[in-house]
């Protein structure tokens, strides 16, 4: 198990007996005085597709970003699939974080493709320079992924020549090229024009059908309902309610969730 | 004041001359820049062509060379004109040269600033039946300053430092006084470092002043770092 204990300086090798792909215990994250994540615990098993819902400011994105240390957590434990990381400052800590990030693929709301590289170059960059793949291997992998996301003919295009939906699918391919254990999606369709959303969701659903472990922060409630096997609802940095989609959408127990769902139904925008 | 070895007064006098040159050139240069910008933006073809030529040429020649041209060229011209040997005053030549240089760059700053005033402001003025001239004077010009400030600030700092070049033709500015003192005392390090410190002071004070000005002008629109 990757056990991450920030700032304690302890080096503990612990083998956990849970088979969980992801295990978060009592995570806390502060920005200055503002505590955004207040003691959150979460477990994801192999093959789980968890949709994370909640209103703005509930800490959804921050949670994801804490997992791959784009925002270093202040407290808590993060276990990932059986190996251990001590999140210490300095070179060793950084190496471990980089190793962790190889296993956690992330897809951003704003795609974040490298504009000065072609589609193909975007996808093979990390496999070649981080994983050490040969150019041939990396290109092979990239071609498969481009087929998978339906954009094989765009391999030599530059991101600025593509639509938002196409860019996001390339971003997904780029993340997949590292063959991560877990995929993190941070509002993957929020920056897209409505007519482009469907294509991206199709790709994400295909990945879920493959049995990948995925955490998806999203506002697409219908999609969340169809694709996930668990919904997690965040409110002010804590889990307000979680459960299987049917239970969550049809019989929510928390009043806040009910309010959230009704506001979405009435068409209030987030 | 053994550090200054008696040259303290001289240094101060030189510093004052430096500021005089800089400020004079600033005022004149802004005037030239405004004219140039208006020629580029509003002017008829020939005027615009002239302004383009002016900025292109001046920005492609070293300031030192311009100073030398005006000083030595001016001397030759005046001598020929008046029939006897007349030397151009270093102060005048310096200010003239720096004004020309500042004006060329300022033309570009003002031109960009004029174009940066939002179209909507101009349209509103027209809708209120303001003539083109009035619109320019009452609406565009005042707003333009806000956009011009960062660029002008940079140009001022450059101007301050370029004044040192006039010492080459003998102007008794800070740089020249430092050179004289350095030569007399065989202590160049001290005096040039003092000169550097003084220039740094002028620069720093200017930076603070500019920051305050930009604050006052609303948010000075930063075009770029």
């Amino acid at each position: 198990m990757l056990k991450i204990k920030p700032a304690t300086g302890q080096f503990k090798t612990e083998l956990s007996d849970t088979k969980a792909a992801l295990h978060v215990v009592n995570l806390r994250k502060r920005f200055g005085q503002l505590e955004v994540i207040k003691g959150l615990s979460l477990t994801a098993n192999q093959g789980d597709v968890i949709s994370i819902l909640g209103s703005s400011g509930s800490g959804k994105s921050t949670l994801l970003r804490c997992l791959n240390f784009l925002e270093p957590p202040n407290e808590g434990e993060i276990w990932i699939g059986g190996r251990q990381i001590q999140a210490r400052a300095g070179a060793t800590g950084q190496r471990e974080i980089n190793a962790l990030r190889i296993n956690l693929g992330m897809v951003f709301q704003t795609f974040n493709l490298w504009l000065h590289k072609t589609v193909l170059e975007n996808i093979v960059e990390a496999p070649i320079h981080v994983l050490g793949l040969s150019k041939a291997e990396a290109h092979l992998r990239a071609e498969e992924l481009l087929l998978k996301v339906g954009l094989a003919d765009k391999r030599h295009a530059y991101p600025s020549q593509l639509s938002g939906g196409q860019q996001q699918r390339i971003a997904i391919a780029r993340a997949l090229a590292m063959e991560p254990e877990i995929l993190l999606f941070d509002e993957p369709t929020s920056a897209l024009d409505p007519e482009l959303v469907g294509d991206v969701l199709k790709v994400i659903r295909a990945l879920a059908d493959e049995g990948r472990t995925m955490l998806i922060v999203t506002h697409e409630l219908n999609f969340a309902r169809q694709v996930s096997n668990r919904i997690v609802f965040l409110h002010e940095g804590q889990i307000e309610e979680e459960g299987p989609p049917d239970a969550f959408f049809n019989h929510p127990s928390s009043p806040r969730v009910r309010q959230f769902l009704s506001s979405q139904r009435d068409g209030y925008h987030r | 004041m053994t550090l200054l070895q008696g040259f303290g007064d001289q240094i101060i006098a030189g510093a004052i001359t430096t500021l005089q040159v800089a400020l004079t050139s600033l005022v004149l240069g802004i005037a030239v820049g405004l004219c140039g910008a208006m020629a580029k933006v509003n002017g008829i073809g020939a005027l615009r062509w002239l302004a383009d030529g002016y900025t292109t040429i001046v920005r492609g020649i070293p300031e030192l060379l311009i100073i030398l041209i005006l000083y030595f060229g001016g001397t030759v011209a005046l001598t020929a004109l008046l029939g006897r040997y007349v030397e151009v005053d270093a102060f005048a030549a310096g200010v003239f040269a720096l004004t020309i240089v500042f004006g060329a760059y300022a033309t570009e700053v003002f031109r960009a600033a004029l174009l940066a005033v939002p179209r909507s402001q101009i349209e509103a003025a027209h809708a209120l039946a303001l003539s083109r001239a009035l619109t320019f004077r009452l609406v565009i010009l005042p707003q333009m300053w806000r956009y011009a400030l960062p660029g002008l600030g940079n140009l001022w700092l450059t101007l301050l430092k370029d004044t040192a070049l006039i010492s080459v033709v003998g102007l008794e500015d800070l740089m020249r006084k430092a050179s004289v003192a350095a030569g007399a005392t065989h202590d160049p390090l001290t005096f040039y470092l003092i000169a550097a410190a003084l220039y740094l002071t002028f620069t720093s004070v200017s930076l603070v002043g500019l920051a305050l000005l930009e604050q006052r002008a609303g948010r000075g629109v930063r075009i770029s770092e």
Binding site: R101 | L157, L189, A196, I223
Partner: protein
């Protein structure tokens, strides 16, 4: 206008121009080499790394190049340990003093220009590199610096031109580059117009070539931003519109020397 004089002076002027080019090119090269690591330090979030570099750039950008030149040329000989070591062999030569002064000065401006470029790299693209497990060294080398260079190019081109013009200051410490040579000829012939204007024209020609070269480089590096104007051409989700170039009027960025 004495054309014969111009023709007669031209070989010497051109040879001076060669020295000008040499000085400028070497200073720009050295400045870039120095500025690269310094700009990374300067972009660091750690004050301990960034502030000393800031002190350096502040001093060298806040004082006239002429003063810096004189401090090095006239002042070096005053320092005991310089005079007695092998450093003196270098520092008593005007050519090397000029090179050192120009390089340090150019490096200071280039450091700040590169830093500006680094800061302008879209944060999302850097985060993507992080999220893919790229180390600081890897992502700086492969992602941040290439983007930063392109963004900094207009300001940098400007700086190169300024350096070219600043090389004329070498004439104040006896170096016979273009300005120095023309001054000497003027002193001999008492014809400031013909000689100085010829020198000015040569400078203009050089700067013209440099500016054009950089413009071509900018165009070449930006071709990946060309938009395909079909349905839903590329959109920039961060700025909610077509992919933008940073506004980049070089004059507005003209840094004080």
């Amino acid at each position: 206008m004495n054309w014969y004089l111009v023709i007669d002076a031209m070989p010497r002027l051109l040879s001076g121009a060669l020295l000008t080019l040499q000085l400028a090119a070497l200073s720009v090269l050295a400045g870039l080499v120095i500025a690269l690591p310094l700009s990374l330090l300067r972009s660091s979030s750690s004050g301990v790394l960034s502030r000393p570099v800031l002190a350096y750039t502040f001093v060298f950008r806040g004082t006239p190049l002429l003063v810096q030149l004189f401090v090095i040329y006239y002042g070096a000989g005053q320092i005991e340990w310089i005079r007695t070591t092998s450093a003196w062999i270098i520092l008593r030569e005007p050519y090397w003093c000029a090179l050192i002064a120009f390089s340090l000065n150019n490096a200071a401006y280039t450091t700040e220009i590169l830093r500006g470029g680094i800061r302008a790299v879209p944060a999302g693209e850097v985060e993507a590199a992080k999220a893919l497990g790229m180390s600081y060294a890897l992502r700086t080398r492969r992602i941040v610096l290439p983007i930063a260079f392109r963004l900094a190019l207009p300001a940098y081109a400007n700086e190169v031109v300024l350096m070219l013009k600043a090389s004329s200051l070498a004439s104040t410490i006896t170096i016979m580059e273009l300005t120095g040579t023309s001054r000497k000829i003027v002193a001999q012939t008492f014809s400031p117009y013909e000689v100085f204007i010829s020198a000015a024209l040569i400078y203009l020609a050089i700067t013209f070539v440099v500016v054009k070269a950089f413009a071509r480089l900018e165009r070449h590096l930006a071709h990946h931003l060309e938009r395909v104007e079909k349905n839903n051409g590329g959109t920039d989700p961060v700025h909610k519109g077509p992919v933008q170039e940073l506004d980049r009027d070089p004059v507005l960025q003209r840094e004080a020397r």
